[in-house]
Symmetry: C2
């Protein structure tokens, strides 16, 4: 079992990573005999893993309840949140109860916000079951639900007491979602860690084949990189912005196509290439760096070109609407070199369009 | 103008107290020219004070929007919360916006939770317009909405950047609510501060007559006492429990009658007498202390006897359901003497019933 410790101002919490952790009672510390637990999951994940988690916690002597919310981003709402509150109240859960999120990013976001809010905050454990949630949304304490007028507009910064990553859960994840998770994995190498980027170039096939040892190492490295940046910047005022590499472009793709047509990671893959091309225009990357990123993304079975029929100009209105716009200037995350990123407010619209054009279909 | 500073671990914020503060631009610091502000109020308070607040903030150069939620405890819901989120999104408020709560405890609780949650937290200013909110709910950072299965079950600990208490707003408060606020005022004296209790014995008539200078001093003293205990115990794990003096008994009265029949402060008044009687049984208070408390409450036009027809035994099921029950023992706040409280888990049901009987109609 591998472990990453997330160091926060007030306390630390562990991320445990290994194959088969869900069936081991010791994975669930600090839970102990007599603790009350509510597991939040969805009808897609529950048939695979809920019984194992319930059984192991019962062995440990916990009182276990569970509640399912509908699967999918469109159910990341105040209504789903309220389903969790109702279940907690119906089963008499109090301030000493623990909420467990068993599922992907949506489950983690909704359950995390429920844990932050129920009786003004109860203990929270995350069990992310998608690669994306394992390397990204399970670290950092960002929880949220959507509002009809905006994504992730309602939420809290709230940290779990532990994160349990069982790499065996990736066996039931659709291949396309494994690849989408790898887009964020590659992002960590590109913005923070050239040696890890190089390791990925050598091991990407193993990851796609779900080699358990390589998955564990890869997830550990990503969690460590994210934990480091979160520890430096818990409430997202500085360095944490670098994690948005590729995301302003990617969000434009997602919004243009309608959310859910491309997976988030697929849009981010193309967005990273466009940001890399802009970095090349600024003289920071060379053509070979951009090509390496493109090759690695392609090997991960990710798209490397804009959606059919989406013109470069179509990106702009979405990009201007992004949260990261400040004082009338696009703020983009660019690369100084492979493994080092920075925030730039220098790019003109013409430069942005030129960069996007490199990855647009003729 | 009087000022109390609330000292928290991470920062401090001021409570400003004075007659006529709402019309003075300097009351609203740290707001400044160009800031976006959303005022949350209700249709009862808005006709009296919203125009003044809007006008003064506009003078200051702020962009001001407002949203009203329905008046009353029964609208302290996720739906009202969502009305605020919708207004914020429709008017393009971002992470740099400030939410202002203009109203009583319900407005403060709902708007505070909205501020805690919108984009994971925006600046929050409280303008409490009831005596109860001024001395109690505006200090301490507890925000919440109700769930059909429980009061205040969903919320956050979230601190304002400032609290503005304009004592002129009490002129439009029904007399019965002034008295209900005085119940909490008297509570501060009883649990923390004998000299303040004695001051109240001498000045209670002035307070009921809304003498502005005495009101300002009284509110300042209560805010200081609460600020001290909150600074010691921000997330309510220790001393802050003492603020619940009279409340476990009082909640039983409110629940028995149906919420809203007696005002909270009215129920707390009788609850304090019952807790004082129990303290006398334990040999800590004498009969004269209990009589002083009774006289002061009566002078504040508060009830000093259980509701018609409510038998002492009727309190118990509600008291057992209280959050403060721990390991099968009622945890009650009792007095060591006037001006000093402690947590007791020693009282038997028979002792509790004997204490309640002292204040039950024959």
């Amino acid at each position: 079992m591998l472990q990453v410790n997330v160091e926060l101002k007030e306390r630390r919490y562990p991320i445990l990573i290994g194959a088969g952790l869900l069936a081991k009672p010791e994975s669930y510390a600090p839970l102990k005999k007599g603790d009350k637990v509510m597991i939040v999951s969805n009808p897609t994940i529950a048939p695979h893993y809920l019984a194992t988690v319930e059984h192991t916690l019962t062995q440990l002597g916990c009182q276990v309840d569970s509640v399912l919310i509908p699967d999918g981003e469109k159910y990341k709402t105040l209504d789903s949140l309220n389903l969790i509150f109702t279940a907690l109240l119906e089963k008499n859960h109090n301030r000493d109860s623990t909420l467990i999120a068993l599922g992907g990013g949506v489950i983690g976001d909704v359950a995390g916000y429920a844990a932050a809010s129920y009786q003004r905050g109860i203990r929270f454990i995350q069990i992310p079951t998608t690669l994306l949630a394992q390397v990204d949304s399970s670290v950092g304490g960002k929880t949220a639900v959507n509002h009809p007028l905006g994504k992730n507009m309602i939420g809290a910064f709230y940290q779990p007491v532990s994160v349990i990553i069982d790499t065996l859960t990736l066996a039931t994840l659709p291949k396309r979602e494994v690849s989408a998770g790898l887009a964020e994995v590659i992002k960590y190498g590109a913005i923070f860690d050239l040696p890890f980027f190089e390791w990925l170039e050598q091991h990407i096939d193993h990851l796609i084949a779900l080699d358990q040892a390589d998955l564990c190492y890869c997830i550990q490295r990503c969690c460590q990189l994210k934990a480091d940046v979160v520890a430096r910047d818990e409430t997202e005022k500085g360095d944490r912005a670098l994690l948005n590499f590729g995301h302003t472009f990617g969000h434009a793709i997602e919004a243009h196509l309608g959310y859910g047509n491309w997976l988030h990671g697929e849009a981010v893959a193309v967005g990273m290439l466009e940001a890399a091309a802009l970095s090349e225009q600024f003289g920071d990357l060379n053509a070979q760096d951009v090509a390496r990123l493109e090759t690695l993304l392609a090997k991960a079975n990710l798209p490397t070109i804009s959606p059919d029929g989406m013109l470069p100009e179509a990106y702009l209105p979405y990009m201007w609407r992004d949260k990261k716009v400040l004082s009338g200037q696009l703020r983009l995350i660019l690369l100084k070199k492979l493994g080092a990123a920075y925030v730039s407010a220098q790019a003109s619209e013409a430069q942005v369009i030129a960069a996007i054009s490199r990855f647009t279909q003729a």
